[in-house]
Amino acid sequence: MLFPRRAALTVAALAACSGRYPGSRSRRDGARASLLVRGSDTMVLLARRWAEAFAANNRCDVEVAGGGSGTGIAALLNGTADLAMSSRRMHERERRALEAQGRASSEHVVATDAVAVYAASGLTIAALSLAQLAAIYRGRATRWTPIDGRDERVIPYGRESSSGTYAFFKERVLDSLDFAAEVQSLPGTASVVEAVACDPRSLGYAGLASHIGVQRVPLSADGPAALAPTKANILSGAYPLSRPLYLYLAARPSAQALAFVRWVLTAEGQAIVEREGFCPLAERT
């Protein structure tokens, strides 16, 4: 009675451990081909919508998995994904590692996103400069006093180091210096927004997301003008933390993978970008 079930479990566990993802490397068994897209958590929902629409019109299933931009690029390197989605550019080191394997990849900008800084709603925060933000996340400034006069400690939240948002924030805001050890890292955009909503002393950075219980803090780069991450500001490039989103193709991509990227860049694909709350490409220029 117990044995067959245990055997089935063992087989399942072994299959799970074998390291080959069922959808890895596009293959044509039978009628439908399949693609595996991995990477940025910021882009997972967007890529799922793409996948659904693409699969409906093509004889190809697209599987989407998150884990962070680094995860996707590592998967590309390790040969366990056909496409990597990334919210940051590939590092020189990663590019060289790919080339060393003889698998130089191609890069495609597919949408525009912004990193927003969140605070609990109900606070009156006029603006934050990037310098103030850097001081807070570097651990040089720990009080709310200079920002809105409250004599409280700032509780900074951020993303895990596997996240493209983390890498982007570190590079753009911290000037590639280190985060303070006190910065708490959470496993997703939603968890950052939720944590910030729970504590009026906290501040968090994450991708654009639905913002119930939180507000997006307007940011200023050099000048005095503070801009909120509205669509207009992101599209014009004026918002200091806007960024392109990428899809990376493995070398010698399958026809399906190429078709997928090409389709994403069409008006149909870009309409989904807009519907998911990101900024489509064509409007940016």
């Binding site: 884990g67 590592a74 590692a97 400690r153 596997s162 890498a167 280190d178 050890a181 708490q184 496993p187």
Partner: protein
């Protein structure tokens, strides 16, 4: 020759480990099957260890790797550019990757110790209390109910801790950090207490009745018997429960990732600050890492350290149990 073998068999009782020569073939087949299963388990442990070590060892023996990650930088404080003083930094992604494992080890130790300090007394006390109250009939459903609590998936406990416990603890204790080691430890204690309870309860109920009956016959009250006879006699089992609880606490990942805040701070004595554990680090970072990169090796080395800790804990537990059992036998 055959005669000698025969007479030896006649004198010595047949070994229980070996089926006798005349046994039916089904017995032999079963014996081989059991042996195969056992060797698979042992082989799995050995292979896992070998795999972890193979991935971690380049850190120690590969010269180019030494230039990228000097061994000293793994455990010694260092003043990096941009820092005011020498310190222990875990910041594996960035321009200069910094792999100091001290904050992670201290984080694991802090959370696991706190969790055992909170959870184990509850579990042991519950087991003693159940014996003391003489709830023999109630035990039949109390014990499975508590064991059911032990089998709640840790994600569920983590979600509860994140959604409810963290807020309650922050407002009632006035904590600065909503996500902190103490909250994570309380959530972990919820997982550990049932485990400690059920093992302690088994140990307590395995105490021979002659001992307790003798104590009662001498006029001891029930709580005296509980504390002076039952608990000392069950001590090896209770010690095993504590060590298993500690092992569980060190190995637990999900709750810690969700509730501890994951900040690699260096405050081993401040339970209300955040902590980043070894397991949480491996879980969140391993998926992102390029295979065979320095970061990859360091994460596997962390795994090896974890393996060594568990092994040491088990060895200590075995030693304690052996010692206590011997002492108990000597007295009775």
């Amino acid at each position: 020759m055959q005669d000698v073998a025969h007479s030896a068999e006649a004198i010595e009782p047949p070994s229980p480990l070996r089926t006798q020569r005349g046994a039916p073939w089904t017995h032999r087949a079963a014996e081989h099957a059991i042996r195969a299963c056992a060797s698979v388990t042992i082989a799995a442990v050995v292979l896992v260890l070998a795999f972890v070590l193979r991935e971690a060892l380049p850190l120690f023996f590969d010269r180019p790797r030494h230039a990228e990650v000097p061994l000293g930088s793994l455990v010694l404080p260092r003043q990096w550019t941009g820092y005011d003083h020498a310190t222990f930094v875990w910041q594996p992604v960035g321009g200069v990757a910094k792999f100091n494992i001290v904050p992670l080890l201290l984080g694991s130790l802090k959370i696991a110790t706190l969790a055992v300090l909170i959870g184990a007394p509850v579990g042991v006390a519950a087991a003693i209390g159940l014996w003391q109250l003489e709830l023999r009939r109630a035990r039949r459903w109390i014990k499975p109910a508590i064991e059911l609590l032990a089998s709640v998936p840790s994600v569920v406990v983590g979600a509860w801790a994140l959604g409810t416990l963290a807020g309650v603890m922050q407002s009632s204790l006035g904590l600065l950090w909503r996500l902190n080691a103490l909250t994570a430890s309380v959530a972990l204690a919820v997982m550990i207490a049932p485990l400690v309870f059920t093992i302690s309860d088994d140990a307590i109920n395995a105490v021979p009745e002659e001992l307790t009956e003798a104590a009662f016959a001498l006029g001891a009250r029930r709580f005296e018997v509980a504390l002076k006879v039952v608990v000392p006699a069950a001590l090896p089992g209770i010690a095993a429960a504590l060590v298993l609880g500690l092992g569980r606490a060190i190995g637990e990942t999900m709750i810690v990732v969700m509730v501890s805040g994951n900040a690699p701070v260096l405050r081993p004595c401040d339970p209300t600050s955040s902590a980043r554990t070894v397991t949480a680090t491996i879980a969140t970072e391993l998926g992102e890492v390029v295979q065979r990169s320095p970061h990859w090796s360091v994460l596997f080395m962390l795994g090896a350290v974890l393996f060594a800790c568990t092994l040491a804990l088990n060895a200590i537990a075995a030693a304690i149990i052996a010692r206590l059992t011997r002492r108990l036998r000597g007295r009775s």
